[in-house]
């Protein structure tokens, strides 16, 4: 345990503590239930504290994950011995074979099973979407309250309250995390997919302006999607599609923000910065996802994303296929953002007239929080047909409606571009 590694080696274990926290939480919650989450948090915290103190001085051990597992196992055994005369756990962990039984819990297969059980428990339809997301980030991803607050643009206090409420409702339902959960998988897989998709979306949209947090959320979403796509069944192709979508989007991360932290739109991104390995992984997942009984929104979004990733340039993108995918997407899921993107794709494939016509059709369905996207899309179409004065006035509307700094910066650049183009024409 005392082999010293260098700092650069320790980089290879990025997010190890987070992953480990999710594993430990899942194992322990299966044993102790939601009503003992403070105890569980203490055991986890003590394990990491021990690791931090030792590794800081003696270096990272050769097998960091095994080291952490061993420490948490020992802490768990101590805890179980302390509680040996209390009921609930008694039958399961009575007698001499305590160590062996604990070892079994820490087998890879069991850990994975525990994580899935915990994830499906967090995605309980009894909780609202926000509570499901927060609880998932807390339990499966080892985020603390302030990290969740940062990620979801909320306050630590609000997160604390929401998680407390969520745990309480789960306690009241008295969920048995050891019961067979095959039926639950089928009933709840859609919710689990949605929650992973929402976590990913929180990371992918750039409202927080903090690219570290954004990346962390996308990374967590991909990790959960990998976990879920390991479950066999009819829903598996859909899980593959979701994971493919996440990979395709993450592949473009390195090109999305410039050195000043400003957003770069797809059109002007340096495509050589896209992560080819992730695109490759996404492509093979997308191929595996084709074996599905129904075409889900994830299939369509992943396909759109893959077309962008494959295109050599913005101009040579297969806009026709993208338009068709958006058309199908709006048919399954009446999502106004998909409608706006449909109009944009149409304007690239056909012309700005077609796009503008589509926008007119959907104008009434656009709710206030996304109005700025609608007007920015409209402005871009006027820009495309070189009506720069009109483009500028719609960008101005979009600017006034947008709430986030990054969006405002992005739109004000567009306004400047309109001014420049107008000058050229005069």
């Amino acid at each position: 345990m005392d082999t010293k590694l260098t700092y650069s080696d320790s980089k290879n274990i990025e997010h190890l503590f987070r992953q480990q926290s999710g594993k430990m939480f899942s194992i322990l919650i299966r044993l102790f239930g939601f009503d003992n989450s403070t105890l569980i948090e203490d055991i986890i915290q003590e394990t990491f504290l021990a690791a931090m103190k030792t590794w800081s001085v003696k270096g990272v051990p050769e097998q960091p994950e095994a080291w952490l597992m061993q420490v948490s196992k020992n802490k768990l055994i101590n805890e179980l011995k302390k509680r040996s005369n209390r009921t609930r756990l008694n039958e399961q962990f009575a007698g001499e074979k305590l160590e062996e039984k604990v070892d079994e819990l820490f087998l890879d297969k069991e850990i994975k099973d525990s994580q899935l059980r915990a994830l499906f428990a967090c995605c309980n339809p009894f909780l609202n979407k926000k509570e499901q997301i927060m609880l998932t980030l807390k339990i499966l991803s080892g985020f603390n309250n302030s990290e969740i607050a940062n990620a979801l643009l909320s306050s630590s206090d609000a997160v604390k309250k929401a998680i407390y409420r969520a745990k309480k409702s789960l306690q009241e339902q008295d969920i048995d995390l050891n019961a067979p959960f095959i039926h639950e998988i089928n009933d709840r897989i859609d919710t689990v997919h949605t929650i992973i998709y929402l976590i990913f979306n929180e990371g992918y949209k750039q409202t927080s302006g903090n690219s570290v947090i954004n990346k962390d959320l996308c990374f967590e979403a991909s990790r959960l999607a990998v976990l879920v796509s390991s479950i066999d069944g009819d829903h598996q192709p859909e899980s593959y599609a979701l994971l493919a979508l996440i990979y395709f989007s993450m592949a473009r991360f390195p090109a999305r923000i410039n050195a000043n932290g400003e957003m770069i739109e797809l059109e002007t991104q340096d495509r050589s910065l896209w992560n080819k390995e992730m695109i490759y992984a996404g492509t093979s997942l997308l191929a595996k996802s084709r074996n599905a009984k129904r075409i889900s929104a994830y299939h369509l979004e992943a396909t759109i994303s893959s077309i962008h990733c494959m295109a050599k340039s913005f101009e040579t993108t297969d806009w026709e296929s993208i338009t068709i995918c958006y058309q199908k997407l709006t048919a399954i899921d009446d999502n106004p953002i998909a409608q706006i993107n449909y109009a944009i794709a149409l304007s690239k494939w056909k012309d700005s007239e077609a796009g503008l016509k589509k926008l007119d059709e959907i104008e009434e369905s656009i709710s206030k929080p996304i109005k700025h996207l609608f007007y920015a899309a409209k402005a871009s179409m006027f820009y495309q047909n070189k009506t720069f004065e009109l483009a500028k006035s719609y960008y101005q509307v979009a600017y006034d409606l947008s709430k986030h700094e990054m969006d405002k910066k992005f739109i004000s650049k567009k306004i400047q571009m309109c001014d420049r183009e107008s000058l050229k024409m005069n």
């Binding site: 700092y7 926290s21 990491f48 931090m52 800081s56 080892g142």
Partner: protein, 111 residues
């Protein structure tokens, strides 16, 4: 080269609110510092927080660390340096200072 002991003092609950990710980052900070120390680094040991103290002729045993403050000795490093001043300068890079911890630098006596 002489040897110097860096005695680290930290508040007991300095890391209570740290998330797993933050703790892992903290290790990275220490590793970075140790890497910059190069040959100046000799060894180190972390200490468990709980303690007993034994006092005086009567050998009175009490629970808890000896010093009467919220801070306790959380570990130590041994560094190689030419002088107390150099060792002190080197200790300034230690990440515990950033979090409000303190360091005492002492020369190891040679027999």
């Amino acid at each position: 080269m002489k040897k110097y002991m860096l005695i680290l003092f930290e508040e007991e609950n300095m890391y209570t609110d740290f998330s797993p990710e933050e703790m892992q980052k903290e290790i990275g900070e220490h590793m970075k510092w140790i890497e910059t120390l190069g040959d100046h680094y000799d060894s180190g040991e972390p200490l468990m927080p709980h303690a007993k103290s034994v006092k005086g002729k009567d050998k009175v045993v009490t629970d808890g660390p000896y010093i009467e403050s919220k801070e306790l000795v959380s570990g130590f490093y041994i560094l190689n340096a030419e002088s107390l001043d150099e060792a002190t300068e080197l200790s300034k890079g230690c990440p515990v200072l950033r979090l409000g911890g303190n360091i005492e630098v002492r020369e190891v006596m040679k027999m």
